[in-house]
């Protein structure tokens, strides 16, 4: 969530910089202003942007150092631009719910694990086995072995949007 513009453009930019710095810091293990390139996806997404894998690769291309690390000085301007331009916007909750409803073709109000798995394995960037397992472990209601997606979305949104 960006700071309201009432604060003025200078503070706005500084605020954005600080947010990026914070997110970066969490993954900067050696505290030397660099992160492993594999963490970039997590950092970008944690800042509320979700590019596709292809878009992420573009970002990486812009900022990666030869040694496979990304240093903050190069990351900052790129990321700031993304945030300021509101690129790769997050999804509103009701849109998310509608998406699940689309998948629930029989309008059962729930999905079977294998149904969801099939869907998640689609597209240009299908889920890996690990991602699938993780999703199922939080989404599947253990007693019925079904995914009540409304509850699932509710829980995730509450949890994730803090």
């Amino acid at each position: 969530m960006l700071f309201p513009s009432a604060l003025g453009p200078e503070i706005l930019v500084t605020g954005v910089h600080k947010r990026i710095n914070d997110a970066f810091q969490v993954f900067d293990h050696d505290l030397n202003k660099t992160v492993d390139v594999r963490e970039i996806g997590a950092i970008v997404r944690s800042l509320g942007c979700f590019p596709t894998e292809a878009e992420l690769l573009d970002i990486i291309d812009e900022v990666e150092e030869p040694n496979g690390f990304i240093c903050f000085e190069r990351f900052l301007p790129t990321m700031s631009k993304i945030l300021m331009e509101n690129k790769f916007r997050p999804i509103p909750e009701d849109t998310l719910l509608k998406a699940f409803e689309v998948l629930d073709q029989q309008k059962k109000g729930h999905l079977e694990p294998n149904e969801l798995t099939e869907y998640m394995r689609q597209g240009d960037e299908p889920f890996t086995q690990l991602e699938m397992e993780e999703m199922l472990s939080s989404a599947v209601e253990p007693d019925s072995n079904l995914i009540y997606y409304k509850d699932f979305v509710n829980m995730m949104v509450l949890d994730g949007e803090r």
Binding site: I43, A99, S137, P142
Partner: protein, 736 residues
């Protein structure tokens, strides 16, 4: 790009032909695809945030843990001070403090057969052991501890005596070989986690000639079953002295035990004989070997090394002389007050290159003894490169800070007498013995380095100000030492790792940590490492789970995060006045609002915790509509449990912050473990403690408080009740 599922390959037309009069048309494949992709993206974003939360939760736990360890120095210096100046708290003979900190061996206890005089009742249903131990004894011990039984004091004492005798024969550095058994198993910190130890034995086998083990220190403290863990380890040590090896850790130290729970645990489990048992533990701990070497190729120590580590020298010292890392052999030395004059002449270290954790020791924010003739703590060591004033990294241990030893005399302001330094305290002068000879210091420093140091990624060796003891050693330091001895690997523990282990320094250093769920349920795995004749490490991980149902990642992260945030909120609460003072320069008009940056800055400066404050802000403080932080909302979350009369916010905050320390002190004063101390003792102790802290509290307030706590007006205070009153309560909790 093909999708390969049956759903999307149906042509548009056929989907529309479906007869579903009551429901809308089946969505087109394109729409379905779009929906799926949307969900994928959203989920991945969620996981990224989850990962981030997991990491900062980890940071919170770790920073608070290490900050707590720094506080430990404060407490131990207080104890030393009390010991030096107030040995008889209530004037009637040596008290527990003296006993615990500087024990005079009770002649009765000094005789080995003292335990024989302790009768074991017929009704005792716990394990009975005799010596020499057999496998059936160790089995019965393990089974009994599984059932939460306690080993009778008589047997415990006897076990400890036997262990002491055995350890006396061992060198400081023990050598092992892989030629006797297939593989040697090395375990790290257990910290009283009996479940983890039992899990290791279950997965890997009980110790035996075929299954040799090395346990790399920190068997006790923090966890609730330290006694059981350490007794089992000692029992196996006695049973298989050639195949079971124990290294000393920094928690095998009676002063650490005072603070981190082992002392309390022993006292609770062994009411009558607790003190004797603790005394023996103290001896046994100091007799534990420092290091193990496998095949003259692999070095195993608890913490690590420094650029001054000299294994040959280390092997030659009398290790049992170093009872505690927190007290130099001549105890007055670690008085921060004594070292301060030296520190000032020492000045800041030239070109300190530690880019890692530029955190000055917490000592800089601690107040000093009142009345001592020196400058305020604020003036010196304000930069991270200054020589730390911690008792471990004091100028008395110069090699940690710089190559040259400190040889400058004290400044003239501190009067020097023949017997030593005379320092005023409160109303009188206290006399402190003169400094100890260099060799003793060197021995102590070598030990502390090996037990307390942590590896760092950058080259070099710098004082470990985060912990307050030992050093940070870089890959070059490791390389040099390994090469010098012809070793190829250093295995150490001391730091909790997410996966139970971690490899660093290009494969030269392995950290192995065996207490799973160390910070919180689900916080980390435990691990052990096995070395065969090839000396290639093989790692085995595990995680003890209290619930039968496996928690999802989300649930685990959420639980751990909740716990970490509460701990952090408590920190905020207990530093309220300092924080408010910190906000003042940014809020001249006292509006109650500062910018997010200012808020973060103040928190970082006051609390000295290197955390992503902006990311944490939503959990800690409210924002105003204009985006500024309403900083008073930081303290909204909690308050003291009971409402005691005449408790000022200032006092409440101090009591909350030092609750653990106070509990410790009260436990020590309470010789007969009745849970009660007299008003006088309470007042006296409080004055001492607050004087030491330099906390400006009105004596009258304390007296009033004492009187108000004495609910039944009989002149004694139930300190458990008192402390409960100051346990921070989260107002949002329903079950407070």
């Amino acid at each position: 790009m093909g999708c390969g599922t049956s759903i999307s390959t149906e042509p548009q037309g056929r989907a529309m032909e479906t007869e579903e009069a009551s429901s809308p048309a089946t969505p087109s494949p394109a729409l379905t695809m779009k929906a799926a992709i949307l969900i994928q993206g959203w989920y991945r974003r969620y996981m990224a945030r989850l990962e981030m939360r997991r990491r900062y939760t980890w940071s919170i736990f770790q920073s608070i843990e290490y900050a707590g360890e720094q506080d430990q120095l404060q407490l131990s210096s207080f104890f030393s001070f009390m010991l030096d100046n107030f040995t008889h708290l209530n004037g009637s003979g040596p008290d527990l403090i003296s006993q615990l900190l500087d024990p005079v061996v009770d002649p009765w206890l000094g005789r080995e057969t003292c335990y024989e005089l302790i009768p074991v009742a017929e009704s005792y249903s716990g394990p009975r052991i005799s010596f020499p131990l057999s496998v059936s004894h160790t089995n019965s011990l393990v089974n009994a501890f599984k059932e939460h039984q306690t080993l009778h004091a008589r047997y415990a004492l006897q076990l400890l005596w036997e262990t002491k005798k055995l350890l006396k024969q061992m060198p400081n550095i023990v050598h092992m070989s892989t030629s006797y058994a297939k593989e040697i198993t090395i375990c790290g910190d257990l910290h009283g986690h009996l479940d983890d130890l039992l899990l290791i034995f279950y997965k890997n086998g009980l110790p035996s000639a075929e299954t040799p083990y090395v346990f790399n220190g920190d068997f006790v403290d923090r966890g609730k079953q330290s006694t059981e863990v350490v007794l089992i380890l000692f029992a196996y040590l006695l049973l298989y002295p050639n195949h079971m090896h124990l290294n000393r850790g920094n928690h095998e130290d009676h002063i650490m035990n005072l603070r981190y729970g082992f002392t309390k645990e022993v006292m609770q489990k062994y009411k009558t004989h607790g003190r004797e048992i603790l005394q023996l533990f103290q001896d046994v701990f100091s007799l534990l070997p420092i290091a193990t070497v496998i095949d003259s190729k692999v070095l195993i120590v608890h913490g690590g090394i420094s650029d001054q580590t000299d294994l040959d020298f280390l092997n030659s010292i009398e290790r049992q002389k170093v009872k505690s890392a927190l007290r130099l052999p001549r105890r007055s030395l670690e008085e921060p007050d004594v070292s301060r004059p030296y520190k000032q002449t020492h000045g800041p270290r030239p070109g300190s290159s530690h880019s890692r954790r530029q955190r000055p020791g917490a000592q800089t924010k601690r107040k000093r003894h009142r009345g001592l003739s020196r400058q305020d703590s604020g003036s010196s060591s304000s930069s991270s490169s200054s020589s730390s004033s911690s008792s471990l990294c004091s100028s008395r241990t110069p090699s940690c800070l710089s190559p040259r030893p400190c040889s400058s005399p004290p400044p003239p302001t501190v009067p020097f007498s023949v017997d030593g330094l005379q320092v005023p305290f409160l109303d009188s002068l206290a006399s402190l013995p003169p400094p100890s000879p260099p060799r003793v210091e060197r021995e102590w420093k070598q030990m502390v380095d090996v037990l307390w140091s942590d590896p760092k990624p950058q080259d070099g060796c710098t004082p470990n100000t985060f912990r307050g003891g030992g050093c940070y050693y870089g890959p070059d330091v490791t390389q040099r030492l390994l090469r010098h001895h012809g070793y190829q690997l250093l295995i150490r523990s001391h730091e909790c790792k997410q996966e139970g282990y971690e490899i660093c320094h290009g494969g030269n250093v392995i950290t192995i940590f065996s207490a799973s769920n160390y910070y919180e349920e689900g916080s980390n795995r435990g691990a052990y490492v096995k070395l065969g004749q090839d000396l290639l490490p093989r790692f085995y991980q595990y995680q003890v789970s209290r619930t039968t149902r496996k928690l999802t990642l989300t649930q685990r992260v959420r639980a751990a995060e909740g716990s970490a945030l509460r701990a952090l909120q408590e920190k905020l609460f207990s530093h309220r006045s300092e924080l408010l003072t910190g906000f003042l320069p940014f809020d001249h008009n006292n509006t109650g609002f500062v910018s997010v940056s200012e808020w973060a800055q103040v928190l970082e400066t006051v609390l000295r915790l290197d955390l992503p404050w902006r990311t944490l802000r939503p959990h800690l403080a409210r924002l105003a509509p204009d985006g500024s932080v309403e900083y008073l909302s930081c303290f909204d979350y909690m308050g003291p449990g009971l409402h005691l009369p005449q408790v000022t916010p200032n006092l409440a905050e101090t009591l909350v912050r030092y609750r653990t320390d106070l509990e410790l002190i009260f436990n020590i004063i309470d010789k007969d473990h009745s849970g009660l101390i007299s008003l006088d003792e309470f007042r006296h102790t409080w004055r001492l403690f607050s004087g030491h802290l330099g906390v400006a509290l009105d004596d009258g307030a304390i007296d009033a408080l004492a009187r108000s706590i004495d609910f039944n007006k009989d002149g004694s205070i139930d300190f458990t009740e008192f402390l409960e009153a100051f346990r921070v309560v989260h107002k949002l909790d329903k079950d407070h």
